[in-house]
Each structure stands twice: as structure tokens, then as C-alpha cells.
């Protein structure tokens, strides 16, 4: 293997991974053009709040607001937008009904019966508790999706190096790992062919298939680690980590509007907690 291919994961990472993601983001999508750390620092406290709010109206309001923010803030295109806006209430409904079945019927026996089938009854209380979980699930999914659509892994890593003072050697390990992934795909093909030629774990059916899949794990990981070792020597040879700081091709400045965005997310957290406690 030549030195050029060994070094490729680190050098090419900017061009291959980062550029298309940024370029495809429309300039108008204000959450995509914001600092990548916003989509971590903003929604995450809200995700924690979702665990502690047990008020249906507050949870529903959070869900509606987040769904609007997902569509307006990341402009994901018509198909994803429709999936978010239609899927969210649908998911909440499905979870509400299905979770209701898990609820101990004896505890809500005093509430009116919705469906009666012989000795078995589905109470309104069951649906209410189910709806609480349903709204939590949907809120959590939407908040996660907000970050997923707004940013990418490499962008978060680079912004963390620039603003959270994460040592760049750690960050670059993660950036290099992103470039390992397509290699794994290629290596898997090679291992699969090698196993087939040697007749390893032949047979049909799910058991043989599982055994075959499990047999790929060790050579795949061993190959990956050996590749990582060669990359690390190439990086060392190029004095990677010799200086305490390094320059970046892509910078993620922290602007005033990033602060404003994070503060408005946090304000929403406080509002949700106050409303849930006060109602």
C-alpha cells in the first residue's frame, strides 16, 4: 500500500465527507447554517425535560413546536417534511393505543371503559397514560431528528475541536473513522469472497446465515485495526500532533445568532417546566 492511500483518510476527509453535506444545505435553512454545536446544545436539554414533564398539553405543544421547527429550520424537502408532519401525530396515536395495553388495568378500573370484549376491557385511563408515553416518544424523536437533519458527524467533531477545546488528536481519530466506513464495505466483500472460496460456513437457512455473518466479524475488525495501525504510522511520519494547535480547512464560527438560538431552546425548557408545574 502506498503512502498516499494510507494518508488518504485524514487528508481526503474534508473534501469527501464535509463538502457535499454543507453544499447541499440550502442557505435559508437557519438551523443548518448555524454552528453544528447548536443542534447539540439546544435540543438536548429539551430531551431531558421530556422525561420529567408529565403534562399532556405541554408535551403536545412541545411536539407541535418541534415539528414546525424541524420543517422550517432544516428545510428537509417535501417528502421528509410530509413524513414528519403526518408521521408524528400518527406515531403518537399508535404508541398511545399500544402502550395502553401494557398499563395495569386494575389501577385505572374507575375510569370509563372504551372497548369491551368479554372479560377484557380497555379503559380511558389506559389510553391517557399511553398518550403520555406516545407524546414523549414523538417529542424525543422529533428533537433527535432536528439535530440529525441540521448537521453531520464530521461537522460536530470539527466544531467541538474549535469551540469545546477537545484535543484535535481525538477529534481527528473520529474524522478518520468516518473514512474507515467505506473501507469496511470493500473489505467485507473481500472476506466474503475468501470465505466462499474456502467453503467456510456453507449451508442454507437462518442458522447458517447467522454463523456466516458472525464469521465475518473477527477478520473484518482485525483488518480494520491493521489498517488503522498503518494509518497511524503514516500520520506519525507526517508529525501529526506535533503542535498543540492546528489549522482547519473548514471553520465553524460561533455567531451571535447561535447564542440566540441556544438561549431560545433553553427558554423553551424553562417554559415547559414552568407550564407543567403550574397547570
Amino acid at each position: 500500500m502506498s503512502a498516499a492511500t494510507v494518508q488518504a483518510p485524514v487528508v481526503a476527509e474534508h473534501a469527501v465527507v464535509a463538502a457535499p453535506a454543507r453544499a447541499s444545505a440550502p442557505r435559508r435553512a437557519f438551523l443548518r447554517t448555524a454552528n453544528p454545536l447548536v443542534s447539540l446544545a439546544g435540543p438536548f436539554p429539551l430531551m431531558v425535560v421530556v422525561f420529567f414533564v408529565a403534562d399532556l398539553r405541554v408535551l403536545a405543544a412541545m411536539g407541535v413546536a418541534t415539528a414546525i421547527l424541524v420543517v422550517a429550520g432544516t428545510l428537509p424537502g417535501p417528502r421528509v417534511s410530509a413524513a414528519v408532519l403526518l408521521g408524528a401525530p400518527l406515531t403518537a396515536g399508535i404508541v398511545a393505543v399500544s402502550f395502553g395495553f401494557w398499563v395495569d388495568a386494575a389501577a385505572v378500573a374507575s375510569t370509563p371503559v372504551l372497548v369491551q370484549a368479554g372479560p377484557w376491557a380497555y379503559h380511558a385511563g389506559q389510553l391517557e397514560i399511553g398518550l403520555l408515553t406516545g407524546l414523549r416518544v414523538v417529542d424525543l424523536m422529533l428533537l433527535a431528528l432536528l439535530g440529525a437533519l441540521a448537521t453531520t458527524g464530521p461537522d460536530v467533531v470539527r466544531a467541538s475541536i474549535q469551540h469545546l477545546r477537545i484535543p484535535y488528536r481525538l477529534g481527528y481519530a473520529a474524522l478518520a473513522a468516518v473514512r474507515f466506513v467505506p473501507r469496511f464495505g470493500h473489505e467485507l466483500e473481500v472476506i466474503r469472497s475468501a470465505h466462499r472460496v474456502r467453503g467456510v460456513a456453507r449451508g442454507r437457512g437462518p442458522v447458517a446465515a447467522t454463523r456466516r455473518q458472525a464469521g465475518y466479524a473477527v477478520p473484518l475488525l482485525a483488518g480494520g485495526i491493521r489498517h488503522a495501525e498503518r494509518v497511524s504510522y503514516a500520520m506519525d511520519a507526517r508529525a501529526f500532533g506535533a503542535h498543540s494547535t492546528r489549522t482547519e480547512r473548514t471553520t465553524h464560527p460561533w455567531r451571535l445568532r447561535d447564542t440566540a438560538l441556544v438561549l431560545s431552546f433553553w427558554a423553551a425548557c424553562v417554559a415547559a417546566l414552568v407550564l407543567a408545574a403550574g397547570v
Binding site: 399508535i94 385505572v108 481525538l170 478518520a176 473513522a177
Partner: protein, 192 residues
């Protein structure tokens, strides 16, 4: 930071990349299961443990679990979980490190892996109970949920240790992990 070799960083990155690729479909599954059948979420929680357990058992250095899970989080951001995937994986990695931190990274026996994973699962069960309003469910549902979650974690630790032992056999961690003395030669190998 200077004392950490690039080879160690890259080895953790490779294991983390593999674990992250595994976590992308698992994240999709988790989303689907959370919405339809929370019992099945308890079955798949183990997937988050395999990567860091493998790295820690193979590399036997402080921080391996945290670094590996951090990398797997970055990779698995390409799923609906988004940046929250990093928070989840970092939490798992930090929890696994804790058990080894309080033994000053001297003990690498399988029981410590199992004990740490069990302690983390107990904490996770507590948060899951709050989230799913589990107190309102029937007793057998709660018992089933707890059992599935524990079995999932133990199966993941078993798989991770086995994977690490077999990887150690291939020689990829030679010169990376502290030299395994004759007295405790490949405890992972002998005890799994």
C-alpha cells in the same frame, strides 16, 4: 494527551467505526420499537455495549471505551438519532470506564466487565421506568422488561469479550495492550 499514541487512537477509531456502522440500523430499529413495542427496545440495548467492551478488553488502556463509543456515536449520527447518538454512546462509554477507573485500571477480569455493565443497566432501567411510566404497568411486564434488559447487556459483554479474545489471538493488539504476564496470560481468552 501526549502520552497517548496515535496507534491507540486509530485502533479505537477502527473499533468505533465498526460499532458505529452496527449502531446505524440499531438506531432505526430503536426508533421503530420505541413507537410500537418497548419490550424489544430492552432486547437491543446490548448493541451499545459491544463496541466499548471489545475496545476495553482488547486495548486494556484507560479511555478506550470512552473514545470508541464517542467515535461510534459520530458514525451513527447518520441515523434519525442525530447528535443525540453521541450523547448516548458517550454516556455508555463513560459508564463502562467507571468500573475500571475505581479499580485503577488494574483489573481486567471478565467479572468486572459484567459488574460494570450490570450497574449501568440498573441506572438505565431507572431512567426507562420514568420515561415509559413503567410504574403503571403490570408486575409481569416490569419483570419481563428488566430481565430482557439484563440478559441483553450480559450477552453483549459476552460477545464483546469473545470478540476481543479472538482479535487478541490474531495479534492486532500486540505492542498496544500492556504485556500480558504469564500469571494472568490472556484472562479474556481463558475465562470466556
Amino acid at each position: 494527551m501526549k502520552s497517548v499514541t496515535t496507534r491507540y487512537l486509530m485502533t479505537c477509531a477502527a473499533i468505533g467505526a465498526a460499532a458505529g456502522v452496527l449502531l446505524i440500523p440499531v438506531n432505526f430499529l430503536a426508533f421503530a420499537f420505541t413507537a410500537t413495542a418497548p419490550m424489544l427496545v430492552a432486547v437491543i440495548v446490548g448493541f451499545w455495549l459491544v463496541g466499548p467492551v471489545t475496545a476495553l478488553a482488547l486495548v486494556r488502556r484507560p479511555g478506550a471505551a470512552l473514545l470508541t463509543s464517542g467515535v461510534s456515536g459520530v458514525i451513527s449520527m447518520a441515523s434519525p438519532a442525530g447528535p443525540s447518538a453521541i450523547v448516548t454512546t458517550l454516556m455508555v462509554g463513560a459508564a463502562l470506564e467507571l468500573g475500571f477507573l475505581i479499580t485503577f485500571y488494574k483489573v481486567w477480569k471478565p467479572w468486572l466487565f459484567y459488574a460494570t455493565a450490570t450497574a449501568f443497566q440498573l441506572y438505565y432501567l431507572y431512567t426507562a421506568f420514568t420515561f415509559y411510566e413503567m410504574e403503571t404497568t403490570s408486575t409481569w411486564t416490569q419483570v419481563l422488561f428488566c430481565t430482557l434488559m439484563m440478559v441483553s447487556a450480559w450477552a453483549a459483554v459476552w460477545a464483546g469479550l469473545r470478540l476481543a479474545a479472538r482479535l487478541a489471538d490474531t495479534g492486532v493488539a500486540r505492542g498496544l495492550a500492556p504485556r500480558r504476564t504469564v500469571a494472568n496470560a490472556d484472562t479474556a481468552r481463558a475465562d470466556v
